[in-house]
């Protein structure tokens, strides 16, 4: 039986059926042809870059950054070619398996290293390689004077490779390799300037919080293998649809969700993201906004059939998303550090995606759609923030900005497009994607659509407020600069990527949103989104959203453009103080986990030294005899020992002789 199982697992994955989504196709996953069969190049190119730069040492200082950038673009070209080839196929044929090598075979456990190229993964590939490559270019300018530039680009390439592995893996084990790989890259880049102890701590915090999530993912893989006897998508997701044991599916779904909350900085594992802004700004743009932190959403959508089999797990996803979208939005209103405000916003926006992903097939496509548009506008705004910091001696305090619109025209204009996109002003990208998420949140029965739809709606209003606050405080109003700064526009290496992303922020949503291009593209993977209607009419939802957005912008305008912004933050009310302190997330973690943990460790160290050692040592001494004998043994030990050995051997032989 096991043999049969083994054969099934080892058979070319093309033989398995890949069934995902409610109304998913159950066609054969095709063996890759043409450029698609070389899809491993997507990962290999940036990985090669990382290896050359890390192993080559100082010799690669000169050409390293450019090489890394070129290889990242190379990966994009491969991705684009794969995409073009895919366009030539029928919708049902657009999924191919690219086997690489046998990864792990241990007893009945067998996993191949193989890639799955389908509509969902290629969408991520294009986002990662395109935005990633732009950010490589930007970094050539941003990191120009950093002595460790080579190491930075090596890590950046490492990240791109790991992220591509994460989204291309055709099984959960390989996904996990990419999953922790991006965690490593994130750790390395957050701590890139780790001679600042606070940055080193931030890096550790990110890794450990992610490990808590990874624990969940590990347990998920564990019980998945136990139950389905495999960990590849086609077997697991295929079987999940017919699974009757709902309790099991709920456990599986919750463990996957725990993994997702760690990587995507969702409640309750959100606390690391704000501190992660310690990394250089291009890193914040790429890893902590556009790509890595969205991996949790990818995981949920990819594992769709598992969640669909458990309404409880789905509900948990939606709740996590709703809490986080409000949490992030509230925190975002009080932050004066431009990067931390953007980080809070990222958290909140991913909350939207998570909420949509938890709604099932009705929300998957919109979750990914919002993920794509967010990748563009948020990355663009982070790069804009970097450009501002560049011109302001690396200051991040928005209370010390103001009035930059005239001096940094390109930065201002590109940032403005990102701002319009995120707050959801038509016809910019965010309008198309976020509005769809809000509409989807209003679908359902009973209390749920009202609560979740309401949360999404209120979140949109708060988003408009804090993003406008950020935008006005930075670019408008009175100049509040410290005396030593001389703001200037950044060079072309930095502004061109910002412009490209701004164009995306403006038009991407319009092109693929209302045309239905993207949802129908993803439909074979995510299933049809059905014809369920929100509990409120769509125009009503849209109108309410726009009213709240307008209100948020107006409030921000009054307080942060028209009125003078104090350079020192006012005390603020209790809510403001709470938001400023990230709703006391660190204090809670400290009280619940850190301090008890330290006490536990300290007492264990004490017990180990006194109790356990004493006890075990005493036992050992008993064997050696009394403690005085022990001391005698210690002197002239060699002889005693040899004697003991000899006695032992003689005794054994003697005993055997007597008996036989």
């Amino acid at each position: 039986m096991s043999l049969g199982m083994g054969n099934l697992l080892q058979a070319p994955s093309g033989a398995g059926t890949y069934a995902a989504g409610l109304a998913a196709h159950s066609g054969e996953a095709h063996a890759a042809t043409g450029i698609t069969s070389a899809a491993w190049l997507l990962i290999a190119l940036p990985l090669l870059g990382a290896a050359v730069l890390l192993l080559g040492g100082r010799r690669t200082n000169g050409f390293g950054p450019v090489l890394a950038t070129a290889l990242s673009w190379g990966s994009f070209v491969v991705g684009a070619l794969v995409f073009i080839q895919m366009l030539g196929l029928d919708a049902e044929e657009r999924h191919a398996n690219v086997p690489m090598f046998d990864f792990v075979t241990a007893g009945s456990f067998s996993v191949d290293a193989a890639l799955l190229v389908d509509q969902l993964s290629i969408a991520f590939v294009l986002l990662i390689t395109f935005v990633g490559s732009l950010i490589h270019v930007y970094s050539l300018g941003y990191m120009e004077h950093d002595p460790d530039k080579r190491r930075f680009f090596a890590y950046l390439n490492l990240f791109v490779a790991a992220m591509l592995l994460l989204v291309l893996a055709d099984n959960y084990l390989l996904l996990y390799v990419g999953w922790e790989g991006v965690g490593l890259a994130s750790y390395l880049l957050i701590g890139f300037w780790n001679w600042n102890p606070a940055y080193a701590t931030a890096a550790n915090k990110a890794f450990v919080a992610n490990r808590v999530g990874d624990f969940g993912l590990s347990v998920a893989v564990m019980i998945m293998f136990f139950h389905f006897g495999a960990v590849d998508f086609s077997t697991v997701l295929g079987a999940a649809g017919n699974e009757a044991n709902q309790g099991f599916m709920t456990a599986l779904g919750l463990m996957l969700l725990l993994g997702a909350t760690g990587k995507s900085a969702q409640f309750p594992l959100q606390s690391w993201l704000g501190d992660a802004m310690a990394g250089p700004t291009p890193v914040s743009a790429l890893i902590h906004a556009a790509t890595m932190v969205t991996a949790g959403v990818y995981l949920v959508v990819r594992s769709g059939p598992i969640f669909e089999a458990s309404p409880d797990a789905q509900l948990a996803v939606v709740i996590v998303g709703a809490i986080t979208l409000l949490f992030g939005a509230i925190v975002g209103t009080a932050k004066d550090d431009i990067k931390k405000a953007l980080a809070a916003s990222t958290m909140s926006q991913i909350g939207y995606m998570m909420l949509a992903a938890g709604l099932g097939p009705v929300g998957y496509a919109f979750a990914i759609f919002h993920l794509l548009t967010h990748g563009f506008f948020k990355a663009g705004m982070f790069l804009g923030a970097g450009s501002v910091m560049h011109g302001m001696n690396d200051q991040v305090d928005m209370r010390r900005f103001g009035g930059l619109s005239g001096i940094m025209k390109i930065t201002w204009a590109t940032f403005a497009l990102g701002w319009l996109a995120i707050i959801g002003v038509p016809p910019f990208s965010g309008f198309w994607s976020k509005d769809k998420v809000i509409e989807a949140a209003f679908i359902g029965e009973g209390w749920r659509p009202w609560v979740f739809g309401g949360a999404a709606l209120i979140g949109a209003g708060i988003t408009a407020f804090y993003m406008s606050r950020l935008f006005f405080m930075t670019f408008h109003g009175k100049k509040r600069w410290t005396e030593d700064v001389h703001p200037h526009e950044s060079g072309l290496l930095m502004t061109v990527p910002m412009m490209v992303l701004a164009v995306g922020s403006a038009f991407l949503g319009l092109i693929i949103g209302p045309t239905g291009l993207f949802t129908s593209w993803l439909e074979p993977v995510t299933g049809g989104h059905g014809d369920e209607h929100p509990v409120l009419a769509v125009p009503v939802i849209m109108a309410l959203t726009l009213i709240l957005v307008a209100g948020g912008v107006a409030l921000a305008w009054m307080r942060y453009w028209r009125d003078e912004v104090p350079v020192v933050a006012p005390a603020g009310n209790l809510l403001t103080q709470a938001a400023r302190n990230d709703l006391y997330q660190d204090q809670v973690n400290e009280a619940l986990l850190m301090r008890p943990g330290i006490h536990l460790t300290r007492s264990l160290v004490f017990i180990d030294g006194k109790g356990v050692d004493g006890g075990a040592g005493g036992l050992a001494a008993l064997v050696g005899g009394t403690s005085s004998r022990l001391r005698r043994l210690q002197n002239g030990f060699a002889r005693s020992y040899a004697l003991t050995m000899l006695t032992g051997v003689v005794a054994i032989l003697g005993a055997l002789w007597v008996i036989s």
Binding site: G107, S218, M222, F637, I659
Partner: protein, 539 residues
């Protein structure tokens, strides 16, 4: 005996046992300079490695025999003792690991012992290298012995070189540490001795009555079997080391030289977990099942306890030894899960842990030689002083926390995935260890390597160990030397190769695990594991 062993016409294993022993005698007693003696030692270990690789190529993982490369000579036929060697896949990879680690350790040990000009100093250095090299003999012998008595002889005899390595060449409290190591080992060993005699008496007797194959599948009275099991298990638990008999390890590892610590923890301690598979599971399967709840509980406690203790340490070497307590907990857990997946994971973990712990001990030692202290608090900011060393130290730390892509991940993953079907609670709780692992490794890295560049270093050359200054040609703090790079490169290569292509090792491990587990019943509920059980019983 030919039913279970494929005999070899060339005594490969005996060559592997004798080569280092001969080399060690030459190193110790041949006249000549210290430098030459070191070279001879290194050369011998490299030749042994090559022979080992050639021998490994003769191994056929498709064979149905449990042992290959077999040798058999009657030794004391009156008492059933024979000189019988042979390897299964697990023993083979562990021997190869020992053969790879020995030259690495010798290279790392180059300046461990100060070379005073007088003759006594030279003798000391030669003695150190001779002892290190001689360890190889015992490491190969103990894994290759297929006669229980011969195993016991190797098992006990290896205490002698280790005792001297710790007691003569270690740190300030080396005498204490050596004594403690010895007493713990002896205590376990003596209990095992009784069990060794007793199991022979239960067996068929005869001239080859001590052969493992003759003591497998005995029909034993349950109480007898359990007592025998306990006799063997205690010795192995001390060696492994499991909580609560682990306390000798931190002292031994901290007080000995890094090379000794590496071979002790990386290789010799594996005799404990190896013994559990080879002897406990194979000879006393029913008792193994009987003891499972207790063993599994102790294993899980070891995982978490070792990890928490590691977090709380202030001494780098002690910290690293406690991480091993945690990792050994994983290995034991996988062994007593009785599934082919976990068994393969544990066996692979024994191999990977050897490289991983070697990297941790040896790289930390490179730092300690520069900084002159084992205290974590005495460091900080060293990434800016020695970026290369910081880099390899980070890789070792990541291997210690089982990062995917590095070898230890695959083994740890297989252990918990394979343990879940039979011991779900233990598997989930032990998996929590991965969070603690991130803490103990990254906190160490943070405290030692990150932060502002230490001002004191550049201005206070006296703070730097004398030995280091000499070997680095007068520079105060230099980054990795060529020799150190040669130490690091093979270890890191092993992490990556086994991290991405674990099947290289699993290919030979899998059949051996299946054979070892065929004696215990692998009753589980999972479709896959049930299949494995069916397959196991059909053998």
């Amino acid at each position: 005996m030919n039913e279970t062993t494929a005999m070899s016409s060339i005594p490969w294993l005996s060559i592997l046992v004798l080569l280092p022993l001969v080399g060690s005698l030459v190193v110790a007693f041949a006249p000549g300079t210290v430098e030459n003696a070191k070279r001879i030692a290194l050369g011998t270990s490299l030749v042994t490695l090559v022979v080992g690789i050639v021998a490994a190529l003769q191994y056929d993982s498709a064979s149905t025999k449990q042992f290959q490369l077999g040798e058999y000579v009657e030794w004391i036929p009156q008492f059933g003792v024979s000189y019988a060697l042979g390897v299964d896949g697990i023993a083979l990879v562990l021997i190869l690991m020992a053969l790879v680690l020995t030259p690495i350790c010798l290279l790392a040990a180059w300046h461990d012992v100060p070379e005073e000009a007088d003759a006594g100093g030279a003798r000391r250095v030669k003695g150190y290298f001779a002892l290190l090299l001689s360890l190889e003999t015992f490491m190969v012998g103990v894994f290759a012995a297929t006669d229980v008595f011969l195993f016991y002889v190797f098992f006990e005899a290896m205490l002698i070189p280790v005792y001297f390595l710790i007691g003569r060449f270690g740190g300030p409290r080396r005498q204490y540490a050596a004594m403690k190591f010895l007493l713990f080992s002896l205590a376990g060993g003596l209990i095992m001795l009784v069990a060794v005699i007793a199991v022979y008496l239960q067996g068929p007797g005869g001239a080859d009555g001590f052969l493992v194959s003759n003591l497998t599948g005995l029909t034993l009275d349950p109480t007898t079997e359990r007592l025998l099991f306990v006799g063997f298990f205690i010795a192995f638990a001390v060696k492994a080391p499991m909580v609560p008999v682990h306390t000798w390890l931190p002292d031994a590892a901290t007080e000995s030289t890094p090379a000794t610590a590496t071979l002790l923890v990386g290789v010799l301690d594996k005799v404990g977990t190896f013994g559990m598979i080879r002897f406990c599971l194979q000879m006393f399967p029913n008792a193994s099942e009987w003891a499972t709840p207790v063993v599994v509980a102790l294993a899980v406690i070891s995982v978490l306890y070792g990890a928490l203790l590691a977090i709380g340490q202030t001494d780098m070497m002690r910290l690293i030894s406690y991480t091993s307590v945690s990792h050994f907990g994983f290995i034991v857990l996988g062994i007593f899960a009785f599934t082919d997946v976990a068994g393969a994971g544990s066996s692979l973990y024994m191999l990977n842990h050897g490289f991983s712990t070697a990297a941790l001990f040896l790289f930390a030692a490179m730092l300690i030689r520069r900084g002159g202290s084992k205290r974590i608090a005495d460091y900080g900011g060293w990434q800016r002083v020695t970026p290369g060393l910081a880099g390899i130290f980070l890789v070792a730390s990541l291997s210690g926390l089982a990062l995917p892509g590095l070898a230890s991940f695959v083994s740890e993953f297989l252990v918990y995935v394979g343990t879940f079907p039979t011991q779900p609670v233990a598997a989930v709780v032990a998996t929590g260890g991965i969070i603690l692992a991130a803490l103990y490794m990254l906190l160490l890295y943070k405290r030692v390597m990150t932060g502002p560049k230490p001002e004191s270093l550049a201005s206070d050359p006296a703070a730097v160990d004398d030995r280091w200054r000499r070997s680095s040609g007068g520079t105060v703090i230099a980054d990795l030397s060529l020799r150190e790079k040669a130490v690091a490169a093979p270890l890191i290569a092993a992490f990556l190769v086994l991290g991405f292509f674990p099947n290289l090792a699993l290919g030979v491990i899998n059949p051996a695990v299946k054979t070892s587990l065929s004696h215990v019943s692998t009753a589980d509920t999972s479709p896959s594991a049930a299949g494995a059980a069916a397959e196991g019983s059909s053998k």
